[in-house]
């Protein structure tokens, strides 16, 4: 046999049980996704047996106008909701971090409410709200997405605020004071010192908001008008008849898209920034 050095007490990564546990976790997390992706290339109408490789379901999915429309809608909503959530969430976090004011605890509590409240309740609430204010449903694209976008912003921005606030906790106040001491105005100090510090959390918050918005089904279902459809809702309606490889293909495209986006965001930020403590 080949020789091995003995395993030291803290070298967990070299222990068999640890490795198997990590392997199992990975399997649990990713096996369903991998199966879904593999079967998108399956040359069969049903998703049970492997019959051979094909790309025809990708062709079919991309030629399915309502599916493409749903995809474009979803991405548009996610994009808008992310931008707005980022601004509101970051501002809310900075406000809660910096200032003391009456009922601060209450403001903080109500702000994180959308995270806690069951989605179904939020969905019903939005349905009633938009009906009550008589929100127009027959607007041209992209204004027909406004109701859904507003609803998405509501449940996305608390996540951004939470991430940004956690990051702010590690900020050294003296850095901002130093900037002002050197002549910076309030805004310059924010731009040059605070913003660079919270940038990693803004990237993380944006990714979080984007994915949350992209795959939301419940709230979207309740707030979408009769003629607007998003990707998850469309997939749901397709699956009601049968799970065809077309759905797999569309899902795979979505996965690749989000993974690519995450990759770009991390690349741009530098992965170090996310885990970096100072």
């Amino acid at each position: 046999m080949f020789t091995r050095t003995a395993i030291a007490p803290l070298e967990y990564t070299r222990k068999l049980w640890m490795r198997s546990w990590v392997g199992l976790t990975m399997l649990f997390l990713y096996a369903p996704l991998i199966v879904l992706m593999i079967f998108s290339f399956n040359d069969s109408k049903r998703n049970v047996m492997w019959k051979g490789f094909t790309l025809k379901y990708y062709e079919k999915a991309l030629n399915n106008d309502s599916l493409v429309e749903a995809m474009v809608n979803s991405l548009t909503i996610a994009f808008l909701a992310t931008i707005v959530s980022l601004v509101i969430g970051a501002l809310a976090a900075v406000m809660l971090w910096r200032f003391r004011f009456p009922f601060k605890g209450l403001v903080e509590g109500t702000m994180s409410l959308p995270i806690i409240v069951p989605e179904i309740c939020l969905g019903v609430a939005f349905l009633i709200f938009f009906a009550k204010v008589d929100w127009p449903t027959d607007l041209p694209w992209p204004l027909n997405l406004s109701a859904i976008t507003i609803a998405h912003i509501t449940f996305c921005f608390p996540f951004v605020a939470m991430v940004v606030r956690a990051r702010l906790a590690s900020f050294n106040n003296e850095e901002e004071e130093a900037a002002k001491d050197l002549g910076a105005t309030e805004w310059q100090a924010f731009r040059d010192v605070l913003l660079p510090h919270i940038k990693p959390s803004l990237v993380a918050g944006a990714l979080l908001a984007f994915t949350l918005s992209l795959d939301d089904f419940v709230i979207t279902f309740f707030t979408s008008g009769p003629d607007t459809i998003t990707f998850p809702v469309k997939v749901y309606s397709m699956v009601r008849f049968s799970v065809t490889p077309e759905v797999n293909a569309a899902s795979t495209i979505l996965i690749v898209l989000t993974v690519a986006l995450t990759f770009v965001a991390l690349k741009y930020q530098g992965v170090k920034g996310i885990s970096d403590a100072h």
Binding site: E175, D181, G183, Q188
Partner: protein, 376 residues
Amino acid sequence: MTETKQPIIQIRNVSKRFGRVTAVDNVSLDIRAGEFFVLLGPSGCGKTTLLRMIAGFELPTEGQILIDGQDMSLVPPNKRPVNMVFQSYAVFPHMNVTDNVGYGLRISGVSKGEIRDRVAEALELVKLGGFEDRMPDQMSGGQRQRVALARSLVMRPKVLLLDEPLSALDAKLRAQMQFELADLQDKVGITFVTVTHDQDEALSMASRVAVINKGEVAQLAPPSDLYEYPANRFVADFVGSVNIFEGTLTLDEPDKAAVDCPGLGKVYLNHGVTGPHGANVWIALRPEKIYLHVPGEGKAVRAAAQDAPDGHNLARGTIKGMSYLGDVTLYDIHLEGGQIIRVSRPNLSRHDQDDFTWGDKVSMHWRADSPVVLLS
């Protein structure tokens, strides 16, 4: 020392209260241009609050601060002609050394060429030439502090404020930086105001020291006065180490005085005290001003034994503890009166520390001008 007619900083009856806590209590003091001024005090005494009020990060609850004759009450920190070196240095972690040092010039719209020249000059001044492209996380604490120093000096402020500048450095580096800071101040001619809790730092660097206790100025004096002529027990005890004995003033004439201390015996002084006869006073005696002898040895001891008011004072005791510090040895001596007195003895030759040991009976004497009489 150069003295202008008008002090660069005038602090007038300044108080600062946080809720019910009074951090600074009716402080008035003037800082002269070109001075190395130190605010010395224990933690929580309000010295940092005072510094932050000069910088503009806190507003006085009462009173007024004038910088170069201008009232600063309504002037925000970014408009004040002072710059601060923070305790944490607060170097911007996402900028390299050049960008850090040039930041203040950049936002005030100085031309690129001038920024380059002044940054280079400032880095040269703090001996950081060659570090231009380093990021702060690639530097040691001492180097980061130099960046913070350069970043402030490059602005050419009227006053440079330093908040505990040496507290995070190790002992050797601290001693070196003490000299360098004093040297730097000499070179740039800017007024330095430093906050510290370390008396060595204050004594070695300052031209004048304000000792702060509980938000008030306990004494304002040059370092040697502070050490040799402390104004009260707090200053005597806080600056250096000291033996303090309570006593009664029994004799007070222009050229001599005597204090009767129950713990130490009668202490004679060769100068007047100007206190009421029979007043309760304290005697402060520095450990290094006491000579140690084996009883009955040496002429001085015999002379002192006569209790002559104009000679040396004498006391006897037993050594209870000693600690050898290399350059000096400290002895804790149990006096016949029951109290403990500390004596430090320089180890002038290699085996001096072997002269005395635990349990030895010793006699001590000190000059009649060595003790300080404190009225509070």
